[in-house]
Amino acid sequence: MEAVKEHRSTKSGVSSDEAIIEIKGLKKSFGSKEVLRNINLTVTKGENIVVLGKSGQGKSVTIQCIVGMLTPDAGSVKVFGKEVSELNDEELKDLRTHIGFLFQSGALFDSMTVRENLEFPLTRVLKLKDQNEIDQRVNEILEGVGLPEAAEKMPSDLSGGMRKRIGLARTLIVKPEIMLYDEPTTGLDPITSREISQLILEMQKKYKTTSIIITHDMECARITADRVVVMNDGEYIAEGSFDDLQHSDNQFVKSYFSDSI
């Protein structure tokens, strides 16, 4: 892998050497296709890591291994010092309450209003009973993502950008310590895409989360990244700050940054 530059100040203002996520020698295959060959990554508290790479290269597979949706074939994935693949169902469920996962589509529950979508994790995961507290948290997060008027709407009535905002709100409402974003700006126009990227950064500052952001959007990477990791052929081939990688000698890395300079 290309030389890593020391980069300790984070955009969230939180800076610590405490490793929140540690991935070592991660391998994952689907049938005969080897998707992840040797992934090594350490994410410290408060850091925003952006993972760049071509489609179908296993970027999403990595974060799915972090949250225990997929089991690695080999290697180690530790979150808060715990080996994810060794956790039992209850321990995994408990770990997941500390991790927010924003899906590419937002994955809002179609049969529920926005309010019910936001109440779902509060009542099912945090087991809150007090309706006043629930309402307060729902209203607060809706204000936070700039959509206080959307509470009673159905997901089908929302635009792509609004769906992403509500998806982000539903993920952040339980105040997770780690946020995993799977292509948060895909399918959005450049203006909305920039707004979502700014929102991600704002929310990260507000909730002091540690994040991994999978994206192809260089503007999103520029706005949100403390550190950028570039993936190719199932491996991370370069790592550094956005500015450092802009001047990389590696042709593959250059091809990503050529349009954004």
Binding site: G31, S32, V67, M69, K93, D94, R96, T97, I99, F101, F103, Q104, S105, A107, L108, F109, D110, S111, F120, P121, R124, V125, T171, V174
Partner: protein
């Protein structure tokens, strides 16, 4: 997927049976694991029961009416016209009512559950629930299967009554029979061995409809096409299960009572 395609037929069948057993055990475990989703269960009962009522009612009415119109000429020929209420009541309560209601529910409910859960799977909503630390089996599967197991017997009982009323209307087209005499004849020709096995088998029909719909939806592949496949497969499989369960229950009933 390539590996799956390379598997021989019986191996695929064995894997499918294994998958279904695991799904069934997860369902059973989650019924008793606490945190039952009462509000979702009630919503599903409304969606499944109330919203299927008009379809089941109309079909049952037509079945009762048509059966009398078909039976009457034959029974009149043998001078057994007075047996019409008896014949209709026994055939509707024992067999036609439960099976027709279940087949209609398989078409309406199993396809709807298969499509809904399949679409939730495709749009990552089920993954989102799981990753959030919620329990999708408890919220989506347990509530739906228990709702179908409760509502299909209820719909069948209501459908039976409407079917008998359809028969009454058909009888009054050509003859005159009082409402109370007709229903008195119907009820007196039925006993415990007609009602009870029929009721029990509708619980199994309801379970099969809910289970197959949930399994097909929950295990659909990624891609919009798979939503249609899940819905279609749910209807076909649930319908086959209904006839299979019917065959077994009739055999057991015959052994026990006759």
């Amino acid at each position: 997927m390539e590996d799956q395609a390379a598997l021989s037929g019986w191996k695929k069948w064995a894997i499918s049976v294994g998958d279904q057993s695991v799904f069934l055990s997860r369902f059973i475990r989650n019924i008793f694991s606490g945190g039952f989703e009462w509000s979702e269960f009630v919503r599903q009962c409304y969606e499944i029961g109330y919203k299927s009522f008009s379809l089941v009612g109309l079909t049952s009415f037509i079945m009762g009416l048509v059966l009398i119109l078909q039976l009457r000429p034959t029974l009149v020929e043998f001078g057994a016209e007075s047996m019409l209420p008896h014949t209709l009541a026994v055939s509707i309560v024992r067999e036609i009512g439960p099976v027709i209601t279940a087949i209609i529910c398989a078409g309406k409910i199993a396809s709807s559950i298969g499509a809904e859960l399949g679409s939730m799977k495709v749009t990552e909503q089920i993954d989102a629930m799981e990753v959030a630390g919620a329990n999708p089996i408890q919220y989506l599967v347990v509530t739906r299967i228990l709702a179908t197991s409760l509502m299909v017997p209820l719909l069948t009982m209501i459908g039976d009554a409407i079917g008998l009323f359809g028969g009454y209307v058909a009888l009054n087209i050509s003859d005159k029979i009082s409402f109370f005499l007709y229903f008195n004849k119907c009820i007196s020709s039925l006993d415990f061995t007609d009602f009870f096995p029929a009721l029990i088998k509708t619980v199994f029909f309801g379970f099969a409809i809910g289970y197959v719909g949930c399994y097909k939806g929950f295990n659909s592949n990624k891609g919009t096409e798979s939503v249609g496949v899940a819905a279609n497969s749910a209807v076909v499989t649930a319908s086959l299960w209904i006839f299979f369960i019917d065959m077994i229950v009739v055999q057991i009933t015959n052994l026990l009572y006759y």
